[in-house]
């Protein structure tokens, strides 16, 4: 299948484990899965804690504060849904809570450096879908 022929924006298909993450975003909160037994945070959501193998988890509310680990600027639209947005920058962020995110950068590319302090913002992109993005802290 050639997805270049599908102009609709790709939407996430939440799993049993990830529903809470997407629901929190809709409420403009950033939530990460936390092991209910040993307390370790994990992202992306999955059934098991890799430290103690517990399958019980709760949701931890993140401050959304972090620092830049890396970035890229997408120039070629591999997917037509993103064509009108190119060039767009994406940042990889180390949150102070210890997990990572990858999200659009709402700032100038020239201002990006390693370890730049950033914070999350929430963007309602379409019906029932809210995505994270980052701005300078």
């Amino acid at each position: 299948m050639n997805i270049d022929s599908l102009p609709a924006r790709p939407r996430p298909t939440p799993t049993e484990e990830s529903q809470g993450y997407w629901q929190a975003l809709r409420e403009h909160r950033l939530a990460f899965q936390q092991c209910a037994d040993c307390g370790k945070l994990r992202h992306y959501p999955r059934p098991m804690c890799d430290a103690c193998w517990s399958m019980k988890s709760i949701w931890f509310e993140s401050s959304g504060q972090g620092t830049v680990v890396s970035w890229t600027v997408a120039h070629h639209p591999f997917h037509l849904a993103f064509k009108s947005q190119t060039p767009y920058a994406l940042v990889t962020v180390e949150l102070e809570d210890g997990v990572r995110m990858h999200a659009p950068w709402r700032g100038t590319v020239e201002s990006l450096t390693l370890d730049l302090p950033v914070r999350v913002v929430f963007e309602g992109v379409e019906d029932g879908l809210t995505l994270p993005a980052f701005v300078a802290a």
Partner: protein, 383 residues
């Protein structure tokens, strides 16, 4: 017990590489397979093991019914993206050396240009589930987009530059021109590379591999079953696969530039019992120029962070310290998932590499790299 000298590559084969094959993917697999089997001096009925590439649509049964194999004794999948072919050789060596079977066929063919493009096929594979849910919706899913942050961090930490990437692209193109089978035959300059359009910063068009139609295949045989075959057998001295930390999401990897080959390379060198100075020729998986630079570090040819200056020294050229991708690689020969890299190493060690033959190539290595940084490596020599 190890896989050191536990089996040989007895035959290799390729189809024509092009933008439009006009053939089915199964037909390309069979054509490449027949070429490899014939190169070995075997009959298709001698094949009693097969490892089809996971995700390209062929299954062991296809080879049974097309070749008329009466008693297929072994089949497997090694789903590591571009690291799959060498992982398949490792799997085949385990199968032949333990007596399960005698001759294992490893084919890989695709209509990667005329059929669904490689860069668009990723989200359908289970190893891309996490990227599909969390990164595709924000516009990151093509390999160039997923690997670009690794390259950017390497540049920021170590001073690696786009000119270093260019050296890899230009050298690989020079080798493709000597190959005779390569899709790209026009010389490339450093300026051409720098003028090529940005795809996913810092990766330019000429940092990216081709999208190709075509196929390649090889046969792994039990050593005692290959002595009287047509070609001089090429033995495997050391082989390993390695899976990176956070193997389904590069984003979540504590050390963003870490790759599976960091784990696999020391194991393969230890098994082979050779040193870096013994390596006469290399075929390093080159889905992107940056990926070659990082693998050179993981392989131990230079320290971490020194990959850029290492390639800038001209080391990868035919007359350099480590002639690399003497067939033109994925960047300029064709994107056949790295199976074409193994074919080229075998030809170099047989002395059949034509205009790009490295003089007295006795020991060589080949690597694979796939998905979110899975790695594989084989060190080979004439038996």
């Amino acid at each position: 017990m190890s896989l050191h000298r536990s089996g040989v590559i007895s035959g290799v084969g390729e189809t024509r590489y092009s933008k439009v094959s006009g053939k089915s993917v199964l037909a390309l697999h069979l054509e490449a397979s027949l070429a490899a089997i014939s190169d070995a001096g075997l009959s298709p009925k001698d094949i009693d093991g097969v490892i089809p590439y996971a995700g390209l649509g062929t299954i062991a049964e296809d080879y049974v019914i097309n070749f008329g194999i009466e008693d297929l004794r072994f089949s497997a999948h090694t789903p590591l993206g571009g690291a799959s072919p060498i992982a398949a050789v490792q799997c085949a060596l385990a199968a032949v050396s333990s007596g399960i079977c005698r001759h294992v066929l490893i084919p890989l063919a695709r209509n990667g240009s005329s059929g669904g493009r490689i860069s668009s096929l990723m989200e359908e594979a289970p190893q891309f589930r996490a990227v599909g849910e969390f990164e595709l919706p924000i516009g990151a899913f093509a390999p160039a987009q997923l690997y670009a942050p690794m390259a950017r961090r390497h540049m920021e930490l170590y001073g690696t530059t786009s000119q270093h990437f260019a050296e890899v692209a230009v050298t690989t193109r020079q080798h493709a021109i000597l190959n005779g089978r390569a899709m790209m035959t026009k010389p490339m300059t450093l300026d051409d590379h720098q003028a090529s359009r940005m795809i996913a910063d810092p990766l330019r068009l000429f940092d990216c591999s081709l999208e190709s139609d075509g196929g390649a295949a090889l046969v792994v045989s039990r050593a005692d079953c290959a002595r009287d075959l047509r070609q001089p057998p090429i033995t495997v001295l050391g082989i390993a696969e390695g899976h990176p930390d956070s193997p389904t999401a590069i984003t979540q990897r504590a050390d963003l530039v870490h790759i599976g080959l960091d784990k696999a390379a020391p194991r393969a060198f230890a098994m082979a019992g050779v040193s870096h100075d013994d390596i006469d020729v290399a075929e390093i998986y080159d889905c992107f120029t940056y990926v070659v630079i990082r693998q050179l570090e993981a392989l131990g040819f230079c320290a971490r962070g020194e990959g850029g200056p290492f390639v800038a020294s001209g080391a990868l050229r035919l007359d350099g310290a480590l002639p690399n991708n003497t067939h033109g690689g994925l960047l300029s020969q064709a994107h056949i998932g790295g199976l074409n890299h193994i074919v080229e190493l075998v030809r170099q060690l047989r002395g059949e590499a034509g205009a790009a033959q490295v003089k007295e190539a006795k020991v060589g290595l080949v690597t694979g790299y796939g998905d979110m940084g899975d790695g594989s490596i084989a060190i080979m020599a004439r038996a």
